[in-house]
């Protein structure tokens, strides 16, 4: 097993929980997130690009996002497997997770470019500040703010919310 500081096991121990949380947020399915987490690490183990990556942690998270979206794309074509309906006993957070609106937003994210999607996911689902995102994707903080704002605007458009006025 890789014993280097950013080796696979190290990433699992330091960032595994966050990766799992991210996959769960992107799929809204605990069972799917568990499977995708395993798939992610097996993929990273075999990926030459991961071994060469300048920032292996960022690579791992990017791959996780892509895996989740591959799953979401595929899922659209099928009858959804049994999905627990909201119940009165659920917490507000659980209700939110299971709400159709959240699913719509996640679906809408698919229509963004991979970079825009990554920025939105990193900022809102991973709570990363713009400065940190900028460092990861090698843009300025100002650029990242702008891209994020535009991306969210596109999500709004996609979701058919009330149109804003012209710029």
């Amino acid at each position: 097993m890789d014993a280097e500081p950013d080796g696979l096991l190290n990433i699992l121990e330091k960032h595994g929980a966050e990766l799992h949380a991210l996959l769960t947020r992107l799929t809204l399915r605990a069972d799917v997130a568990e499977d995708l987490l395993q798939e992610l690490f097996l993929k990273l183990r075999d990926a030459k690009a991961f071994a060469r990556a300048e920032n292996s942690v960022a690579y791992a998270f990017r791959t996780a996002i892509n895996l989740a979206y591959d799953w979401r794309r595929a899922r659209r074509c099928t009858v959804t497997l049994a999905h627990e309906p909201p119940t009165a006993a659920m917490s507000p957070a659980d209700s939110l997770i299971r709400s159709e609106e959240v699913d719509q937003v996640l679906d809408a994210l698919e229509w963004l470019s991979p970079v825009d999607r990554e920025i939105v996911v990193m900022h809102y689902l991973r709570h990363q500040p713009y400065a940190e995102i900028a460092q990861t994707i090698k843009k300025t903080e100002h650029q990242v703010r702008g891209l994020c704002h535009k991306a969210v605007g596109r999500l709004r458009d996609f979701l058919g919310a009330a149109a804003g006025g012209p710029e």
Binding site: V32, E34, L37, D46, C77, T78, H127
Partner: protein, 418 residues
């Protein structure tokens, strides 16, 4: 004003995203997911075997890997339209405790190989060959018993590097990604069946299941090129039938001559300081061990090996220092003649990866380019089934790589006078 209006519209989207970002999965779910990854990463990736090393597992290992690995990959790549079918199979398989099937392997230019497999859900597997020999493998215990009734002999292998695959577990933990495609249904042996096709490491695996019971009834794999071009068909599946538990016994039949080899428990790996001393020098040796040293000298310098095997009537020796990632072989008279420093990925027995280096700083996982930079262009470079061999004749040394990562350093005794 205009900007504020846009912000309000965005707020709804942002609030959904922020709300989602606050949500955390249950700690138990995260712990389970992480542990599952740790287990998966402990399993070595299974490359095609490049050259036979030490013990060869019989065909069942390949069969189990096809089944386990194939199904594993199949599950991970199931198409959306197929997932309902796979989920149904998954649910039904969860209830079964044994499964048996027949595997017929047809390789070009070779006679058909027929193997009967019996798999118990606790990880004990029995494979029976058409010549009467059979093997029982206890995967959780890394142990296998090879029995040859024709010779009244049995070999017990301890510390076998078997993947920790569990057929039922693999079906149960159905990943949701999708690349498999569903097939039109057909009738197989009078039963209506539905099928899916998945791609396993570039090869297609077709799985057919009974439309009524949702259990697999046939699987087909085909390989067009290479040394093992041919087909494998798995059929005659039986689930949860009454099977005499004695056939899964790891005890050798009475009165058989039993040879035991390998180690039951792998000792811990060397410390970093100990690993530093392990320098493999072509034409010289490994650490303090020199070519031509007698076995007693080696053991005095390195300590007792994890296991010892005597080779042939001339009482050669094979010293297993697998916990330190190397093996030393030699003759009784002429002493040490080969030293092999290995990665788990290329040996059948359980080892710790060799943590030392060569005299020029080459360590396991080094690339071909790094090796060439250190030792120059090899005298011969060959590839076989994904493995690359670099041979340096003047150094009596070869390097084996898989997927451009060094997995074995083999040093051989120099000719006399060198």
């Amino acid at each position: 004003m205009r900007r504020e209006h846009r912000m309000n519209d965005n707020d709804e989207v942002i609030s959904r995203l922020e709300g989602l970002g606050q949500w955390q999965p249950a700690p138990a779910a995260t712990d389970r997911a992480l542990e599952r990854v740790r287990r998966a990463l402990r399993e070595p990736a299974v490359p095609p075997r490049s050259k036979p090393r030490r013990w060869r597992l019989p065909a069942f290992a390949a069969a189990v890997l096809i089944i386990g690995g194939g199904l594993g990959i199949w599950l991970m790549r199931s198409s959306p339209s197929a997932r309902a079918s796979l989920a149904e199979m998954q649910h039904v398989m969860k209830e079964a405790r044994t499964v048996s099937f027949r595997q017929v392997t047809r390789l070009k230019g070779k006679p058909d190989q027929v193997t009967r497999m019996l798999i118990r859900s606790d990880g004990v597997v029995r494979s029976e060959e058409s010549d009467g020999t059979y093997t029982v493998t206890d995967m959780p215990k890394f142990e296998a018993l090879l029995v040859n009734p024709g010779k009244h002999e049995a070999t017990r292998l301890r510390g076998v590097n078997v993947p920790q695959v569990n057929l039922y577990e693999m079906i149960k933990n159905l990943p949701a990604d999708a690349s498999a495609r569903a097939l039109a249904g057909k009738t197989i042996d009078g039963k209506k069946a539905f099928g899916v096709v998945v791609t396993l490491q570039g090869h297609e695996l077709t799985v057919w299941a009974d439309a009524r019971t949702r259990l697999p009834i046939r699987m087909e794999a085909h390989q067009e090129e290479g040394e093992e071009a041919g087909d494998a068909v798995l059929d005659d599946f039986h689930f949860d039938t009454l099977i005499d538990s004695n056939i899964f016994s790891m005890a050798a039949p009475t009165s058989y001559k039993v040879k035991t080899t390998g180690i039951a428990t792998l000792p811990p790996p060397p410390s970093p300081d100990q690993a530093k001393q392990m320098v493999a020098t072509p034409l010289v040796g490994l650490g303090p061990v020199r070519f031509r040293m007698k076995r007693e000298e080696v053991e005095k310098l390195l300590g007792k090996p994890d296991a010892v095997e005597e080779l042939g009537p001339s009482h050669g020796f094979h010293l297993n220092y697998g916990s330190r990632g190397f093996f030393i072989s030699g003759g009784k008279t002429n002493g040490v003649f080969t030293i092999s420093c290995v990665s788990q990925i290329c040996v059948v027995v359980r080892v710790h990866d060799f943590a030392g280096r060569t005299d020029k700083g080459i360590r396991l996982r080094a690339s071909e380019a790094e090796i060439i930079k250190a030792y120059g262009k090899p005298d011969q470079r060959t590839t076989n089934r994904g493995s690359t061999y670099l041979e340096y004749r003047k150094l009596n040394t070869s390097f084996t790589l898989f997927d451009d990562k060094l997995v074995e350093i083999l040093l051989m005794r120099p000719p006399p006078g060198k």
